[in-house]
Subunit: 509 residues, 2 copies
Amino acid sequence: MPKSHWAWGPEPAEPELREIARLFTEHTGLGEPDAWERPVPFSPGLVPASRVPVPALPFCTADPYERAVRTYGQAYRDLIRAYRGDFANAPDLVALPRDEDEIARLLEWASGQGVAVVPRGGGTSVVGGVEARFDGPSLCLDLGRMNRVLEVDRESQAALVEAGATGPEINAGLPGGLQLRFFPQSYEFSTLGGWIATRAGGHFATLHTHIDDLVESIRASTPAGMWESRRLPGSGAGPSPDRWLLGSEGALGVITRAWVRVHRRPVHKVSVPVRFAEWVAGVAAVHDLAQSGLHPANCRLLDAREAALTSGGDGRHALLIVGFESAVHPVDAWMSRALEIVSWHGGVAGAARQDQSQDQSQDQVWKGAFTRMPYLRNAYPGLGVIAETIETAVTWDRFPALHEAVMAEGEAGTTTCRLAFAYPDGPAPYYTIIVPAEKGAELEQWDDLKRRVSETVLRMGGTITHHHAVGRDHRPFYDRQRPDPFALALKAAKTALDPQGVLNPGVLI
Amino acid sequence: MPKSHWAWGPEPAEPELREIARLFTEHTGLGEPDAWERPVPFSPGLVPASRVPVPALPFCTADPYERAVRTYGQAYRDLIRAYRGDFANAPDLVALPRDEDEIARLLEWASGQGVAVVPRGGGTSVVGGVEARFDGPSLCLDLGRMNRVLEVDRESQAALVEAGATGPEINAGLPGGLQLRFFPQSYEFSTLGGWIATRAGGHFATLHTHIDDLVESIRASTPAGMWESRRLPGSGAGPSPDRWLLGSEGALGVITRAWVRVHRRPVHKVSVPVRFAEWVAGVAAVHDLAQSGLHPANCRLLDAREAALTSGGDGRHALLIVGFESAVHPVDAWMSRALEIVSWHGGVAGAARQDQSQDQSQDQVWKGAFTRMPYLRNAYPGLGVIAETIETAVTWDRFPALHEAVMAEGEAGTTTCRLAFAYPDGPAPYYTIIVPAEKGAELEQWDDLKRRVSETVLRMGGTITHHHAVGRDHRPFYDRQRPDPFALALKAAKTALDPQGVLNPGVLI
């Protein structure tokens, strides 16, 4: 089914959306299911005329629908604009190159014409990373046709994958028994290149949390030529070239392929739900688990409200999911010790769940509640609620004060928290704030909320983003977070690689 | 005792050196103990006159001895020149600033005068990283007076440490029960700032192998101002500023302090020696351990000859040391599983050694054979042998061919190998090649050996350095290894931060 011009995934059926909306209102008291607003249907007239003649490159188009569905990412401020048929920032052109030669030709053409190039993977950015929010003509460089697993090295457990491959495409392309084991919430649509460009966070709650840790080498096309690092398990030869591209958000080059570290599919896998009467007791348990050296694959703490909304919790207990997995041995010793640690903090363990993931199709792995979540958001514009997610990371000493301050910002609606990742020196909390929408003023409302919460996060010592990236929405806060001399160096590096400044202007630099 | 003008540590006594030399010759058949050459004693006349008037900064000196002991690092090519009284490349000045203000004043003065600044920690570089091997005047910026632990955050297990603190100074400065657990062979003299600037490798054989993983934030003084990253357990806000300084080798700024992740001292610690009749069987065991998810703290494989020379091996068996450690729980389950895995490959386990490191003084931890090793090298110039160490990392699929090729390069003398670190996708082998010296032609001999082995490492798919850094000795090979557009970006970043090019010229850029 073709991608909807506004929704996560294909066009949703209205009855389903309204049922989601009804349940949501029942749980939270928010929204107006009876004042349901319908989306503006797509029509070519919604899309401004292209300002750029289509170049003589067979993989380029100015088709209005192709441009409309590539106008935005998936933030609420994207969703509501597309819902209302606002495609003012649609790219002038869309390119779907099939290989690096075509990308090189495209970059040459764009540099010569002064047309901005916005690289795009799954278009799941929630921070305005893929929107042409700048003056002048733009081209969306969609990597979707470069989606193959090119090579597998079983002995080193590594694979060479094209940047446009989505989560399911990567795992389907790997030979039986191997998986990348990287499951962000956007897994169904987001791509390897996008994960690298944004330093995405994935499956593991501890240890190898970011895609950074799974990358062995990267190849990128820049206006100054091909950037390719050597495949290495580790190196100390100068600053890591890969770490310059990780998080570069399309501003330094177009990532075309990467060698990634893959895993054998776990055959021993166990997870245990642990209930805590108090949130702070759960936090203390996560703190101790994170410093235990046990490295649980899962270690996610949901507050009572989040547990009730998403995981069938009773609304009174915080819920910690602890999980271990291994392809080579039972993990009972790890789990026993983890349960001892949580019991110090009054955690009450429920029944263990043994996942026999080798017997499951890969589809089932991600088609759980976690990756279904973005589909639920499709109901927000119709229902009249605004949702914003704020994720950060902060050292343990500062977390209680940060938590209190962020929760206070969402008082007008409902705010929930989960600890999505945990490090020895601090957690990565993830907040969802949902407030009633003021019809017609949603963008101002959302921008105001984003600004207030971002100010709070910065003031309390957090990072402006742990795994959602900077994009255009976090940019003012990112500028204050990063060291000034680093900004100077980054800008100089950008100018050397992209002298015409055509690569994703306004992002990072 | 003052540092010797040539040796590792203070001036060694000749009888001790000759005894080391005698044993070495007995084991290897190399060297001429009867043709013992004595070092040229230090005299101020060995040091060229300073070309720069001492600035009006009270922490600067042009004293010949202070300049002589800061002329070189600790490569064999450094050792032999100092032994023979060659201090042609002595810095014109030495500065010992006490704080960041003094560093800022120094950088301003140096930029204005066009005097090159070579930052120096312990001076233990084995790659020419701290030698003023360039035209024009130079100043050695010794961080030795900035050696304090400034702050400790017990809850987050992190500490703020000045860049000039050595291994023992850091651990002595941490409150009881906390340790950095970073023990490179140079631990006694090398410093936190040096480790960060060179991406040093430390204590852990798997997982957190490099100092990179232990760094929470870095502060550095640059001619363009102060660079300070936010203390964070994790972040996805653009490319990591810390990763730009990690491996920057003094070319982008002078690292002044860093927040590092510390550990509680392990109270459960066990290691087991495992013997293998065949080297390849030991390699296969390390491969499986590295992919097991067990993350042993120690997992070092010595070939039969290295085991005999350094660890009392029988000369016929390869020796694997597997170790686990924890501050919070016994590690028997981990060790049992690791020993099952090594047994698949015919490994025969010896008696387990339970370390009660909480009862040991910190001194004893590192004063083992491992950190005594550099002292043994003091005997080489007198004995007439040349030693070169080559360390790299390579994916598992390429390791057997690389190993064979490097071993062949050292045929003229004795070559030993250990796998120093192990990753899921490949090992980091460390080779020691010792050959008879041709008196008077040692530098040419060493340079030729370095060139041949480095060519081999690059050709076989390895990195030019896993944890010894690039410096001036690896530079030509590093230039071929790194992506060209990355070199362009790095150079632009350097120029933006250090427009006069005074920071460690010739390193990296």
